[in-house]
């Protein structure tokens, strides 16, 4: 997020696109709703009429995967009606002419048609967006989990720059991070191309710095593999040993059958986790690890705030802190690592090596955490980025992008779109929520959410089991008939093994970020007919 949660309650205008905030980030949504109660405008663009829409002043029911066309047309209106921020685009951005040329290919009629909305609604959206400044743009995985995810992200950034909503309080581009510490895992360099603090592995100076810090001769100089390529590597034999720490890939990756095939192919698979799960079944060795509350440490939230996590209890049995396990492996390779606690790792290594984190030390985050960039211990942290149009690479760069449809689009055989996400009562594959008393009672099984029209057309009732079929597989799951889902859409989650949407999802990826297209694939739904035989009387 370029901006902070504390700005939500003060904001005057929100544009929320592809974010089911009330379920996926419930507390963030409360601040948005508070602002709306105080008179802020809320525009929601989403294929689903999710609960936040109940608070919106304008709801734009765009079709799954139409984001770029929709946003390009919004920008078309802003430019042709002269509603954009000329001062900001002139002084703080480059590439306006290229952007203009591109969005001129998207007159409102084109964007409206692709998005499945009226031209008037599209124009109204653009005008309203321009009417209040600044506006906060929030998105979640509805933007990123597409084969054009990266372009989607550039598209929303273009829009906010054009509106002059960057580098200001209560503005900015604000992706709400899905998991508690995705931000942190990125910051720590658990990525194939960067060291901690986003220092590139292909940069010789960065490598030299880390070689010195880690006391090694030569660090690898080319980017590594991303998860989908690792999985392929397992099958084609280029990856032999695979070390999975705390991820249940067998349920969270698209196309479960394929994923299981990959895991099976590993010559040597190590899993490190707190519970046995679908993925550990394939392991050769399983390390038991300390869970939340069993180790001290830090998480970094979506607004870049480094918060403390505290230990209250020893891990059960032989389970050990994760960093300890990795340290023991390093030792067996002859590397003697000095740090012997999460605090030492952070204070003596991370904050020393990552410039944006230099000012964050454990003693400074006993209570509220600090937001990076925080370059020194006198610095109070940074609430919003790019202040006064100062982008990290100088000027803001417009990145004109073209709309591309999802890789799989509905056809005669699979006429509906399946889109997936999370629900309020569970988290991912329920390794944690499924074992917390009461949550299974609040939501005990997967459902397929469908519109009343589609339910009627195949003749099923609410709560009746249906079959959802894609080119990858098929699941039997209860229909949740709800007007929140539009005609032609099936919406599912991946919390339960049975009826898990990932039996169906399409393993195609954004070419650059390799994010899977969880938000769009094609399916058909069927009524499940009882076995042949006499239909018993029933009253």
């Amino acid at each position: 997020m370029t901006n902070s949660f504390s700005e939500f309650a003060k904001a005057k205008m929100f544009f929320v696109i592809g974010s089911n905030m009330t379920e996926a980030h419930p507390v963030a949504a409360t601040f948005v709703k508070n602002a709306v109660m105080k008179g802020a405008e809320l525009i929601v663009a989403d294929p689903r009429r999710h609960a936040l829409v109940d608070h919106a002043s304008l709801y734009v029911p765009i079709k799954v995967g139409s984001d770029i066309a929709f946003i390009n047309s919004l920008m078309h209106v802003l430019i042709t009606e002269d509603l954009y921020d000329k001062k900001f685009t002139n002084s703080c951005c480059v590439g306006f002419d290229e952007l203009k040329a591109k969005v001129m290919e998207y007159p409102p009629e084109r964007g409206a048609e692709i998005a499945g909305i009226s031209v008037d609604l599209l124009k109204e959206t653009a005008r309203r967006l321009a009417s209040v400044k600044p506006a906060m743009l929030c998105y979640t995985l509805g933007i990123t989990e597409h084969s054009c995810g990266k372009n989607n992200v550039m598209s929303v950034a273009n829009l906010q720059m054009l509106l002059g909503n960057m580098g200001v309080e209560c503005g900015g581009v604000n992706p709400l991070r899905g998991q508690n510490n995705v931000q942190g895992a990125c910051d720590m360099g658990a990525l194939p191309n960067v060291f901690p603090g986003y220092q590139k592995v292909v940069d010789p100076a960065s490598r030299a710095k880390f070689e010195k810090a880690w006391g090694v001769k030569k660090l690898p100089d080319k980017n590594g593999l991303m998860i989908p390529h690792m999985m392929e590597g397992l099958v084609d034999g280029s990856v032999k040993a695979f070390y999975i720490f705390g991820e249940n890939l067998a349920n969270t990756e698209p196309d479960i059958r394929h994923v299981e095939h990959c895991l099976e192919s590993a010559e040597f698979l190590v899993c490190q986790d707190i519970f046995p799960n679908e993925t550990t079944r394939f392991a050769h060795v399983i390390f038991p690890s300390a869970a939340w509350c069993e180790d001290d440490g830090t998480f970094t939230n979506s607004e870049r705030r480094v918060n403390r996590v505290r230990k209250i209890v020893e891990p059960p049995g032989q389970a050990k802190p994760n960093w300890w396990i990795m340290k023991q492996i390093a030792k067996r390779f002859g590397h003697d690592w000095k740090s012997d606690s999460a605090k030492e790792i952070w204070d003596d290594e991370v904050s020393v090596l990552a410039p944006s984190l230099s000012g964050i030390k454990y003693y400074r985050i006993e209570n509220d955490g600090l937001q990076w960039p925080c370059p020194n211990t006198e610095h109070g942290g940074t609430c919003f980025l790019h202040q006064d149009g100062q982008f990290s690479c100088g000027l803001g760069q417009f990145m004109p992008v073209d709309w591309t449809p999802p890789r799989e689009v509905p056809d005669a055989e699979y006429p509906m779109v399946l889109s997936t996400g999370r629900r309020l009562y569970h988290y991912h594959t329920r390794t944690q929520t499924g074992r917390s008393g009461g949550l299974n009672d609040l939501l005990g099984e997967e459902t397929a959410d469908i519109s009343p029209i589609d339910a009627e057309s195949i003749g099923v009732n609410h709560n009746e089991k249906i079959r959802v079929i894609s080119r990858r597989g098929s699941v039997e799951v209860k229909a949740n008939v709800t007007p929140r889902v539009p005609k032609g859409m099936v919406w599912m989650a991946f919390h339960f093994r049975e009826g898990n949407a990932n039996w169906l999802t399409n393993p195609v990826y954004d070419p650059e970020t390799l994010t899977a297209e969880y938000k769009a694939c094609s399916v058909r739904i069927e009524k499940i007919f009882k076995k042949k035989g006499r239909i018993p009387f029933s009253f």
């Binding site: 419930p26 507390v27 963030a28 409360t30 899905g178 998991q179 508690n180 942190g184 895992a185 990125c186 720590m188 880390f210 880690w214 660090l219 690898p220 980017n223 590594g224 690792m230 990856v239 032999k240 040993a241 070390y243 720490f245 705390g246 991820e247 890939l249 969270t252 040597f268 707190i274 519970f275 060795v285 399983i286 069993e294 830090t298 970094t300 996590v309 505290r310 209250i312 802190p321 994760n322 960093w323 990795m326 023991q328 067996r332 390779f333 999460a342 790792i345 952070w346 991370v350 209570n367 509220d368 955490g369 309020l424 074992r435 917390s436 009461g438 949550l439 009672d441 609040l442 969880y518």
Partner: protein, 373 residues
């Protein structure tokens, strides 16, 4: 800046502030029950009464705007007596058996056994020792002696998994309504219509479960034992609890929470007030999704695969095996034949350590995590 007098002390204030806010700013304590920061004051409980010169009745500090030249007394005998009467009425309105202890012996046992016989009353009130009403009753020397206690006919709602709503201890303060409607904005507890309603008119803050998200904000703000967490019932007394601050393990908001811990076990969880980013708010996962760590299904020993199953192994054996296999594979096929996935749920320090292991020890950049999901 305009000025006024509180307890004979001249203080300045900003226009638009209430008497309560001015007092708080100046370190003068006015007790409240129904007042909820962040929500519009309602003046419902009438505990924050103060005396203002020239006014023929006592005024509620929470919703009376401060005025130039006001002369306010916050702790005069008149004020204290009025508050005491109001606290007595609240105590008498329900089954507050902690204070029945203070009754004369003539009907103590009878009342006590009647109350203990109600559902969810087999232990002392779950809020014992952590209750605003109890604190005030003690501070104001309220005796339940002459009060006719009303412990029957109140609704009880224990139908949902997380929260028990025992309206025999509800004082009608309305904080739960405000927490739900104005703070969390779930609008699950309908506002009473018309003039202020209370139990004598048969009104209770009942929940509409079509809207309730089970966030438990109402429980957190309830000043009595009317609303409590089912999972925490009977597990610990308030004085046995140690509070530890930590960060929620679920979504990217990173809410700050208090773990209420007894004997190394989490008894319940509440939101940290006045803290970034959540200001005391939590959702259902953050508040109730804590007990997985105590599950009996945890992995507790290193495991090594054997034929169809796994066998337990020592750390040394398991670590040696992994190190040797990785060494072999790297020797035979090069460092890029190993790959790893880190965990976006675990602490920063673990991810740092894992990428360090892959880069500096194994010699590959094949390290990733579910960054994009």
């Amino acid at each position: 800046m305009p000025e006024l007098e509180i307890n004979n002390r001249v203080v300045s204030f900003k226009k638009g502030q209430t008497i309560l806010e001015v007092a708080e700013k100046n370190g003068i304590n006015i007790p409240t029950l129904c007042y909820l920061a962040g929500a519009a004051p309602t003046g419902r409980c009438r505990i924050c009464l103060v005396q203002v010169e020239g006014s023929d009745r006592l005024l509620t500090a929470c919703d009376t705007p401060a005025g130039e030249g006001m002369k306010i007394l916050t702790d005069s005998p008149t004020v204290r007596n009025a508050r005491k009467t109001n606290i007595e009425m609240l105590i008498a309105s329900g089954a507050h058996n902690c204070l029945i202890m203070d009754q004369s012996s003539k009907n103590w046992t009878e009342n006590q056994s009647k109350i203990m016989g109600q559902p969810w009353h087999n232990i002392m009130c779950p809020s014992y020792g952590d209750c605003r009403l109890q604190d005030l009753a003690i501070e104001y020397g309220v005796r339940a002696d002459d009060l006719e206690l009303n412990y029957e006919g109140h609704p009880l709602d224990d139908a949902t998994p997380m929260i028990v709503r025992d309206f025999s201890r509800c004082i009608g303060c309305g904080r739960c309504i405000q927490a739900c409607n104005e703070i969390q904005v779930n609008r699950a507890i309908p506002e009473p219509y018309g003039p202020r309603k209370d139990h004598s008119q048969g009104w209770y803050p009942l929940v509409d479960y079509d809207y309730c998200t089970h966030c438990g904000q109402c429980v957190q703000v309830c000043p009595t034992g009317a609303l409590f967490e089912k999972k925490a019932f009977g597990k610990a007394a308030a004085n046995e609890i140690k509070k530890v601050r930590t960060t929620c393990p679920y979504c990217g908001v990173g809410c700050q929470l208090w773990l209420h811990v007894k004997d190394n076990k989490i008894i319940r969880v509440s939101g940290v007030e006045n803290a970034e980013p959540n200001h005391g708010r939590l959702c259902v996962k953050g508040r109730f999704g804590y007990d997985f760590i105590h599950s009996g299904e945890r992995l507790t020993s290193p495991l090594i695969r054997e034929k169809d199953g796994f066998r337990e192994a020592s750390w040394d054996e398991a670590l040696d095996l992994v190190a040797n296999r990785f060494k072999d594979i790297i020797k035979k096929h090069g460092p890029d034949a190993v790959a790893g996935v880190s965990c976006a749920r675990s602490i920063n320090e673990d991810s740092y350590q894992m990428q360090k292991l892959f880069r500096s020890v194994f010699g590959t950049n094949n390290i990733d995590h579910c960054a994009r999901t």
